[in-house]
Symmetry: C2
Subunit: 676 residues, 2 copies
């Protein structure tokens, strides 16, 4: 066996696994998956383990087109792939259950061993990722993988309040999560813009607070069962005492100011907050949490707790009197009081409280979990106080950062780097967050995938796995692989471009869109042409454009190689061809402009591409000729590129930095690009 | 208003409707669909009509990305789109219910009027097809459409026995059917290879006859409700007395020869048949049909009745004695006896019998329906005997014919052309048939769509609507439009090619696959490299290649234009560019060959493309130079093309006929191609 040190995943034929496993030894040859393939369970078995095998075979059939009559669960003694679990996993999945597994594949057989059924699921995900089309048939390479997660909490939060996300969309995303070995689905179920779960005790919550867009309790149970079959815990979040306008539409008496209330249509932080000074609030929450504690079996229960602006509290004399009477000096103190009361309600039901940074107060019991959107420093602070934490800082998928940005953020780095071993153990992992101001069922997959896979790797793989080039190479393969799970991050792109173009002839629009990215962070709000609300359709190019442009990244790599003097003639030709295509693209797009209202805002972005690409071609010409450009060319071109880097239609042209490098090199009269 | 005579649909901006409506008058301007859009019901209303509006709005949102908070059902007085139905359609949809509608759109409002809720559904389908992206927003053109179907029975049969088709796949295909105004889903539920419905009275039918792949009765009810909401009747077929091996696995006593029986894995016609001489058979069918008559509410019940080879009957002395005793001279007489008995069981339950050609006997009651796979002559014969009929001849989607082939076949032509008006009325319409020897959930959509739309038009539109160019132009648009309904005929192509290539770099494979079509008729069986069975994966290029190559057709049109002397310089360049791409494609594909077992059989097809394209380029050169080719070139090239037209990997190279035309022209020293 050839031993391969992690993370040297750069050479073939090491498989493109994501997340990178703890250890991998490549063997010789491969095991063919054909009609004779079958799975057997050795030793411990139960119906859930059998169901895992069935799910695995269903996915394997998607990859191989094998008919359902083949590849069955059989006796272990006759099976090509033997699965051995030490025992059952918990019926209600718990934090920290053993997910380790060992997968050994030879040319003739495979064996998956794991302590629990959860490890089996993770091993199945790895097996599925190993399947390839080979000269001999579908096959997996001979190897031994030993693997376990670095962090026990690896999550994805989906906000279904700002935009409702239907169950079928959630299901396919749970499939994607399981494929990447994620294990917590954090369901952000209520916010100002919608309350999304049926409550039988307080029916007006969903009836009046959701526009009819909510999950019934049966549907919730179904989704939890679906997640459980994939080794994914479901942690519900009911955000309180702020972010709660939608509750007040049906129950205004919970609020700190008189109603009536309406479902919020805008984005941002709003004044309405629950009344912490009113005993009725706790009576309500006691009944409500009692009901939801029965519906959601997970031990952990998220109460949000973020972004209370305190305005309703400041303006309410009764609340002010309450604060004075209880010695609560600040609104933070008042919220801490609220949290303590809520925590008692939760712990009475056997639930452990989770909340965002703001809940952190030494007075809370030490078993609560703090989810940090502020950073590792805030996690470290919590750990030093003895609290467990989750990192979500820098894992916000809605902010449209590249995968490398997320990948670079380690929960244990920066502020958390110097924790004692005991403190470090309190950091449970992290969660990516899909806030949904700008996602719809149509484009949510493309906002989550494939970038989520980079975060999944950060939370599963060893901290030494940091090679960005390797990550991107595997991310591209992983992105295509996820197509088999029904995710639409790839397939949804073309139909959206067709809608925008008002035509099936989308080639020039696609050429443009392929090098555009939505503006980052909160710029979309800040630069919005009209105030964004939940009533606006998400039909613009910014809604179709991918958060990260693969074309732009590949172009950047080629330019860097060229300027480092390492580019082949073919690469140089390709750079020139791409620039020419881009320069001329507007002449192809222009005729479409008149036919679609959605193209009109796009034209300036297209004209910008023409200008920037033309500047790149000029630079290339200078470099090719080894000639110094005329006086003033550099400053003129730099000004053009500075302007070219600005957003148009809230989209950024991602090739600008590479063109700037070309221009800089040309201005210096560099001839490096010509060498080789 | 500008009146446009049907079928002159060739000029813009006449909308690309399919099927072509009975009459259409284009108006001026368009109605914008924006946040203010709403639908109101005027006059008669019921919950089903409201549900139709909801479904319509769901589909409209898919097209426009409009959020669910907008575009509601409102009061008719405030609605932009008013819907007025004369009354309810039947709760259980009946053959011949009024489906006509009138859709009037102005720049400011729209009105849909129909006699029944069914007409409303058809009008909604038209409206959805009219939506376009315009400079002012999403919009529908001002117009008046008056429309009604030519035939009352417009169906699609799907065989779920030879390959099981899951419910989600059926649901999306029902969406596609409704979009094309089809109104009968004929569910071929049992055959030698599988019995697909749960029977509570005879549980072993599905338990032992389906490999576990069957629909529960709850699922059947759900699918029927889903179809009903879309104005589609569900006609079940239980094929008997032949095509029934799967029944006998659990109930061998029904057969005409002793068991045991196993589920058939091969394709073809087999010996097992029910025992018509045994009273137990009829007792069984009485109970079974009683149960299924309750499950399937449609008035019509299909008993198959096709392809009994009679061998089991011939070999059974008891059956022979029975025939003698009852004066039944032939096996056809015996089957007629069986049909009569079965028909009595059906009519006792209020059901009308439908069967394939073979059931036709004057002794059956006149209300039965004959479904003809034999042709219009057979339909006419039935009509002359007073029986109603359906055409399926030439509408077999599994035989891989082009849309134009199906489009050219009119139920009332050929043998049926000379019927009296009363006889003609007996021809109810037709059904396309999706026999499933070679379809899986993955590729079934691409075998049905878009060609099905041409058949849908044949059955809905006036017989004068026969312009093939117009059909193809609208078919392409319709194919993309169907993407909004979740059909995978377009999106599924790339993932299948990736699997075959064993790579994400599929560009050369796609170039090749785009000009290949599966062999036609029953050639796939006849030329199969290994005996085809239900155990073989459908993972080859023949399973991914489209039944009809759009690229091939477009190339053919360009060559014809060129040889007629009407081609622009651009067209000529394009023809040359395509031929060059094809000639050089094998050099790009070759490096992939070694990495995939699925590519190995494809390489000869790729080499053939190189040779044929090179011959085309030679011909083009002669034509360009106006030079006569050397002696022997024509015969040599003709031989090459004759060979090039033969199947490779069971795939046909569709450009061969066009290249033959080029070669012929070159050999004649024609200069027509140079003119203009």
């Amino acid at each position: 066996m050839l031993s391969v040190a992690v993370p040297s995943f750069s050479e073939q034929p090491v498989p493109n696994l994501m997340p990178v496993p703890t250890s991998l030894q490549l063997g010789t040859g491969r095991m063919v998956i054909d009609a004779s393939f079958s799975v057997g369970i050795k030793g411990y078995s139960d119906s859930r383990l059998e169901r895992s095998v069935t799910l695995f075979l269903t996915n394997l059939r998607r990859e191989t087109a094998m008919p359902p009559l083949l590849m069955k669960l059989t006796e272990a003694s006759q099976a090509k792939f033997v699965v051995e679990a030490g025992g059952a996993n918990q019926v209600v999945q718990e934090l920290g259950e053993d997910e380790s597994y060992r997968l050994a594949i030879t040319a003739s057989a495979a064996k998956l061993s794991a302590a629990t059924g959860l490890g089996v699921m993770r091993g199945f995900a790895t097996f599925l990722q190993l399947v390839e089309t080979t000269p001999e048939g579908f096959a997996v390479p001979a190897l031994i993988i030993e693997d376990h997660p670095r962090f026990p909490w690896r999550g994805l939060m989906v906000d279904v309040s700002r935009h409702f996300i239907p169950l079928d969309v959630l299901r396919r995303n749970l499939d994607g999560m399981a494929a990447l070995k994620l294990n917590v689905f954090h369901w952000h179920l209520s916010d100002n813009q919608g309350f999304r779960v049926e409550s039988k005790k307080f029916p007006k919550l969903a009836e009046m607070g959701s526009d009819g867009l909510y999950y019934t309790q049966d549907q919730v149970r179904e989704l939890i069962a679906y997640a459980a079959e994939r080794g994914i815990r479901v942690v519900p979040e009911f955000d309180m005492p702020g972010h709660s306008t939608a509750w007040f539409v049906g129950y205004p008496e919970l609020a700190s100011a008189p109603g009536p209330y309406q479902i919020e249509r805008k984005w941002g932080i709003f004044d309405p907050a629950m009344d912490p000074a009113e005993e009725g609030t706790y009576r309500f929450l006691d009944k409500f949490i009692g009901e939801m504690a029965g519906l959601f079996p997970d031990r952990y229960f998220h109460i949000g707790g973020d972004e209370v602006n305190g305005k309703q509290w400041d303006a309410n004399p009764k609340i002010q009197a309450f604060m004075r009477a209880h010695g609560l000096k600040t609104n933070q103190d008042l919220q801490a009081y609220f949290n303590q009361r809520t925590e008692k309600i939760l712990s009475k039901r056997g639930k452990i409280m989770v909340g965002w940074d703001e809940i952190l107060r030494p007075t809370l019991p030490k078993d609560i979990v703090v989810q940090s959107w502020r950073g590792q420093e805030s996690l470290a602070q919590a750990a030093k106080m003895g609290f467990r934490g989750l990192l979500s800082y820098a894992y916000y998928l809605d902010l449209m950062h590249p995968a490398a940005y997320h990948y670079a953020v380690d929960p244990m780095s920066d502020g958390a780097a110097n924790l004692s071993p005991d403190q470090a153990k309190l950091i449970l992992g992290g969660e990516a967050c899909m806030w949904s101001e700008y996602v719809s069922p149509e484009n949510v997959d493309s906002r989550i995938w494939p970038r989520m896979a980079a975060i999944a790797e950060r939370l599963w793989s060893a901290p030494s796995v940091v090679d960005v080039d390797s990550m991107y190479r595997r991310l591209e393969v992983t992105s295509r692989w996820l197509d088999w799970f029904g995710l639409t991050h790839n397939s949804g792109y073309t139909p959206m471009l067709r809608r925008i173009a008002g035509s099936d002839q989308i080639s020039p629009l696609k050429t443009l869109a392929d090098v555009l990215e939505p503006v980052k962070d909160y710029t979309r709000e800040e630069t919005a042409p009209v105030e964004p609300t939940s009533l606006l359709p998400l039909d613009r190019l910014i809604d179709a454009a991918r958060p990260e442009s693969a074309t732009g990244r590949e172009f950047g790599v080629m330019v860097d190689t060229m300027l480092a003097g390492h580019a082949s003639a073919q690469t140089k030709e390709q750079v020139r061809a791409m620039l020419s295509l881009w320069r001329d693209n507007q002449s192809s797009l222009q005729p479409l402009e008149g036919q679609s209202f959605l193209l009109q805002e796009v034209i300036p972005a297209s004209e910008n591409l023409t200008r920037v690409a033309a500047a790149g071609l000029e630079a290339l010409d200078y470099l090719d000729r080894g000639a110094r450009p005329a006086e003033g060319w550099k400053s003129q071109t730099a000004a053009l590129l500075e302007d070219g880097g600005k957003q148009r239609a809230q989209l950024l042209l991602v090739i600008v930095p590479s063109i700037e490098k070309l221009v800089e090199a040309a201005a210096q009269g560099s001839t490096a690009a010509l060498s080789k």
